[in-house]
């Protein structure tokens, strides 16, 4: 495998960016708030080290299988991250509102269906069958994740659920990266990798560069503190919690009345 100076630069820069991001997550105590996001970044660091070792000391075939098995893990973590963000937005009090949960499940199913239909239409020209599977797999994940993030934005706007600053920044970064991945995935399908792999590598570099920019964005945004809220006076805090209990009681009573 030919690795250019640019590839090495991006590889090293992304690795350092991830290390910096992990430091920010630890130093600013965001890791406990976003465990999946932290795991995703830590996995990326471990992946970079492992792949560097495999590339220089093991066979090309081993590198290939290591790369793609780790890519599967990466995609799985991205879906979990999506869920983590959804939990922050849709159940801030640790309880999912019924109607939001139903809409959320519908949104996931609908998005998966659209992503599947678009992926089935993709027929990249490749030398090996595995290359087509990889291109289609990447494209499917990118389409699905970009739709899910859009769906979350719609659902939160319709339900009147505000996004906290750091959750919104993580989602923005991942959303932009997914959209760019859709574009590069579609272009890779169109051009294929049968005769000329140059275009495919240019697209891959563009996608990785976008990810690097997103990582830098996360470093800056997660280092900054969210705008400080006004301090709630103690008297009002007590009154608000009393009021909440009263509302809960009203709701239970109204529901039982509906059944009677």
């Amino acid at each position: 495998m030919n690795v250019s100076g640019f590839d090495l630069f991006v590889w090293a820069a992304t690795f350092l960016g991830h290390l910096l991001l992990l430091f920010v997550l630890w130093k600013r105590r965001r890791a406990a708030e976003f465990p999946v996001f932290t795991t995703l970044i830590a996995t990326d660091v471990a992946k970079t080290i492992a792949l560097y070792f495999v590339l220089h000391h093991l066979s090309k075939g081993t590198y290939f299988y290591s790369y793609w098995s780790m890519a599967v893990l990466d995609e799985a973590l991205q879906f979990l991250l999506f869920y983590e963000i959804a939990v922050h937005v849709f159940c801030p009090l640790s309880v999912w509102a019924n109607e939001v949960r139903k809409m959320f499940i519908g949104m996931v199913c609908g998005s998966a269906l659209i992503a599947l239909l678009l992926t089935l239409l993709a027929s990249p020209v490749t030398q090996k069958r595995i290359q087509a599977v990889v291109i289609r797999g990447n494209f499917f994940c990118a389409v699905l994740i970009s739709q899910l993030f859009l769906g979350m934005v719609i659902l939160s706007a319709r339900s009147g659920l505000p996004w906290k600053t750091h959750v919104a920044r993580i989602a923005q970064g991942l959303g932009v990266y997914s959209l760019v991945s859709v574009v590069t995935g579609a272009a890779a399908t169109y051009f294929g990798v049968a005769h000329d792999t140059h275009t495919f590598y240019v697209l891959a570099r563009f996608r990785i560069l976008t990810y690097f920019v997103c990582a830098c964005y996360w470093v800056v945004m997660l280092w900054n503190e969210a705008p400080a809220p006004r301090e709630l006076p103690e008297v009002m805090r007590t009154q608000i919690y009393t009021l909440q209990k009263q509302l809960e009681y009203d709701l239970i009573r109204l529901r039982s009345w509906r059944r009677s």
Binding site: L121, Q147, V182, P229, L243, L247
Partner: protein, 184 residues
């Protein structure tokens, strides 16, 4: 040829995503810039006395349910007239969204008011449920039979929501409480 149609479809998909994102981004920006006065303007006028009459027919002023025989004096026709039919109920449903926004407005100042905003949201869904049932009944020609039961319950929920919201704002010592009381 298949790849060309694929690219066209992906292009349409991206345009749709960009358009919808832009729409919701602008909407979120607008609502973040919404002033107190703008929110109040969105409230559609409803006769407070009618709402109170319908609600207090089945609950006490404290919010406790009345016993059968004590209250329950309104017949379906009176409720229909007082509320202004299904249209009145739909106005009530639209106002619920404003009530949620009013709670969210307070939440921007005091994030811990989130718990109350959450409960108001659930109350609003309750009302949507009642109105949805009535819309279904209207389609099957059973509106009048179902109206009294569902409408009165929706009005009770709305009445309690307004009371709770006023209470919340009054506890917060919000300077524009008088305007809110007038609007509700």
């Amino acid at each position: 040829m298949r790849n060309v149609s694929f690219v066209v479809l992906v292009g349409l998909f991206l345009v749709a995503i960009a358009a919808v994102s832009l729409h919701y981004y602008l909407r979120a920006r607008r609502s973040a810039q919404t002033s107190w006065g703008d929110l109040l303007k969105r409230l559609t006028w409803i006769d407070r006395n009618s709402i109170a009459t319908i609600a207090l027919d089945v609950i006490e002023e404290s919010g406790e349910p009345r016993h059968r025989g004590d209250g329950f004096a309104l017949d379906p026709a009176s409720i229909w007239t007082l509320l202004g039919g299904l249209e009145g109920l739909e106005t009530l449903e639209r106002n619920c969204q404003v009530l949620i926004d009013l709670a969210a407005y307070l939440q921007t100042w005091y994030p811990e008011a989130l718990v109350v905003a959450e409960q108001l949201r659930l109350n609003a869904r309750e009302i949507e449920w009642h109105v949805g049932r009535l819309r279904g009944a209207a389609q099957t020609g059973n509106l009048m039979e179902s109206f009294a039961a569902y409408a009165q319950r929706a009005v009770v929920t709305y009445y309690l929501m307004t009371q709770h919201l006023l209470e919340l704002y009054s506890h917060a010592g919000f300077p524009k409480l008088a305007e809110l009381q007038q609007a509700l």
